[in-house]
Amino acid sequence: MTALKLLSPEHIAMVDRGVSVIVASRDAALRPSVMRGVGSAISADGTRVTVYLRRSQSRQLLQDIEAGGGLAVVFSEPPTHRTLQLKARTATLCPASPADLPLLQRYLTSMQHELAQVGYGPDFAAAMLCAPLEDVVAVGFIPEQAFDQTPGPRAGTPLGAPTATP
């Protein structure tokens, strides 16, 4: 299975548009860590994904990713709960740069649109996703596994496999 086959154009479009993103890892004692991302990006072919975290909010999580704990990331559309989970064993971390600003802004605008549909105003979304550039870290990874995580009994179905088994 190549990474190219992992994600459908619909999934790539969902991630590219900018939906809720949650990142998890774990430490050496298998204690999980978790935080919401403040932005995301995906390459056109779906093989490279970047999620943005605030260092001050995610110290343990970033430490766990750097230490090789791997990462699990869910992308979810708030109005529909359509959800995708990606997993990777490794990721690269680097501080966000001014070049990332338009992307973070575009993400916020998209999330403001998404959250408006479930009753939360633009100020709420802006407070939730506030991302001072000096505090933001870009976490880049190549998805190795993908799962349909839309709530329900089929959640967890692997994507990209020739025959998907729950």
């Binding site: 699990a72 329900g152 967890g156």
Partner: protein, 451 residues
């Protein structure tokens, strides 16, 4: 990063915004998933809904550590709960209240058979991180709640009769707490049913309507002796929409997962928030105090706290007013002027099988209240009696009152209300504590159907 108490972040545990949970498999692979319920159990514990056998479930059984991220729906501040899995409960108050919440959610979409709680996973809260962030200013908490509770308490404490008490309690809910749609239901233990004795805020009073013990929000609150609160049906309905499309996409070969039928609720046609609280006195569930609203998030955990306190007072007062010593019964009042009997003959029919009573073919009442009414009418037609006492009803074997907790006053009140609402030319009026009068203003023909 500070560490708040679980109590301090209760606004985040209302389910307004779905929580996310990370776990880790024994091979070290992390997992992250949305979770539909994170419920406050006590200062040191939360319960999470277990609905499906999935990766989260597999992980938590192999490695009991979890990290849950919740968000304050007002301030947009995050809190991270570090949890340790303890056990799964599949019965009892916690499980049933969470299950009823899910059932209420699911019934909106015909998902009751699918959106089912398998268990309540209880976790110890080891630590809570208050996560750095700008956030929004918090809305000042509601003030004066205790004062409002005091007003309700004073008003209820002044009541001398059951009818006055129930009407007073409903007025308190409406005036002091802004809860406009409410019902009081009493539990008929032998029949395993709850019957409505008072209500406000509905097109019809619904007095006399029944709910089976264990059925719906009200029935579960009574059976499990636990408050049941549904506060975000709209959001939850979206959640189950997603589940249903997920089901339809992949269950062609599994007929057992077909969408089920909805649970019918009494009261508002489209409630968005509901709260049912048991009324308990001397360790016994007497009934349920129920409120609902067409608005989302109408009742928060503080409303629940208030209603539990109020229901405790109400339960104690109901118990007291019903078990007042018979010795305190006042002497029979002088026989009032009998009402003028006139007009067409009214036919009253009684079916002994369930003690149902019909007046000119219109259903009036059944059960114990039906048996009481039938006894009164027989005594009236056979002996011309119009003055009665609670004591003789308790001693009359034809009425079959339970030995304890007979709720006689509530049943008389129910009968009185049904007569008022159906408006036949007959009524019941109180003549003193433990005494009442049957007033009949028409010729009556009694028909006893074969049992």
């Amino acid at each position: 990063m500070t560490s708040p108490s679980l109590h301090a972040i209760r606004p985040c545990l209302e389910g307004a915004i779905p929580a996310v949970m990370s776990t880790c498999a024994s091979d070290g692979t992390p997992n992250v998933a949305y979770i539909s319920q994170v419920v406050y159990v006590d200062e040191d514990h939360v319960a999470l809904s277990f609905q499906f056998f999935n990766k989260t479930r597999e992980n938590i059984l192999a490695n009991p550590r979890a990290s849950v991220l919740v968000l304050d729906p007002v301030t947009a501040r995050f809190y991270r709960l570090h949890l340790h899995y303890l056990r799964t409960e599949t019965s009892g108050a916690l499980f049933e209240s969470m299950k009823a919440r899910l059932a209420g959610i699911a019934s909106h979409n015909g998902m009751a058979d699918v959106f089912r709680l398998k268990g309540s996973d209880v976790y110890a809260v080891e630590h809570i991180d208050a996560i750095d962030g700008e956030g929004l200013p918090s809305v000042p908490g509601r003030t004066g709640l205790l004062h409002r509770l005091r007003l309700c308490s004073e008003r209820m404490a002044a009541c001398t009769g059951l009818d006055e008490l129930l009407q007073g309690a409903l007025a308190c809910l409406r005036d002091a707490l802004g809860m406009r749609h409410a019902m009081v239901l009493m539990l008929d233990t032998p029949a395993q049913r709850l019957y409505t004795v008072a209500s406000c805020g509905y097109a019809t009073s619904g007095v006399g309507s029944e709910i089976a013990l264990g059925h719906g929000v009200i029935g579960v609150a009574a059976r499990e002796n636990t408050p049941v609160r549904i506060s975000h049906m709209t959001h939850a309905a979206l959640y189950s929409h997603a589940m249903r499309s997920s089901l339809q996409a992949g269950t062609a070969d599994d007929a057992t997962l077909a969408p089920g039928t909805e649970i019918p609720y009494p009261g508002l046609p489209a409630p968005h928030s509901q709260l049912a609280v048991p009324m308990v006195a001397a360790g016994r569930v007497l009934g349920v105090l129920f409120v609902e609203s067409p608005q989302d998030l109408a009742f928060d955990f503080e409303d629940e706290d208030m209603l539990v306190a109020l229901a405790g007072h109400l339960g104690a007062a109901i118990d007291l007013l019903q078990t007042a010593p018979e010795a305190s019964e006042t002497a029979p009042s002088p026989t009032a002027q009998a009402p003028t009997v006139s007009g067409a003959t009214v036919r009253v029919r009684h079916y002994p099988a369930n003690d149902s009573v019909f007046i000119n073919d219109d259903y009036l009442i059944k059960g114990v209240a039906g048996a009481i009414f039938w006894k009164l009418l027989r005594d009236y037609t056979q002996a011309g009696r119009t003055e009665f006492s609670n004591r003789e009803l308790r001693l009359d074997p034809s009425i079959r009152l339970p030995d304890v907790a007979d709720n006689l006053e509530a049943r008389l009140l129910l009968l009185q209300r049904r007569l008022q609402e159906n408006n036949p030319p007959m009524r019941i009026e109180k003549t003193g504590r433990g005494r009442f009068r049957l007033c009949v203003a028409c010729p009556v023909l009694l028909e006893e159907l074969p049992g």
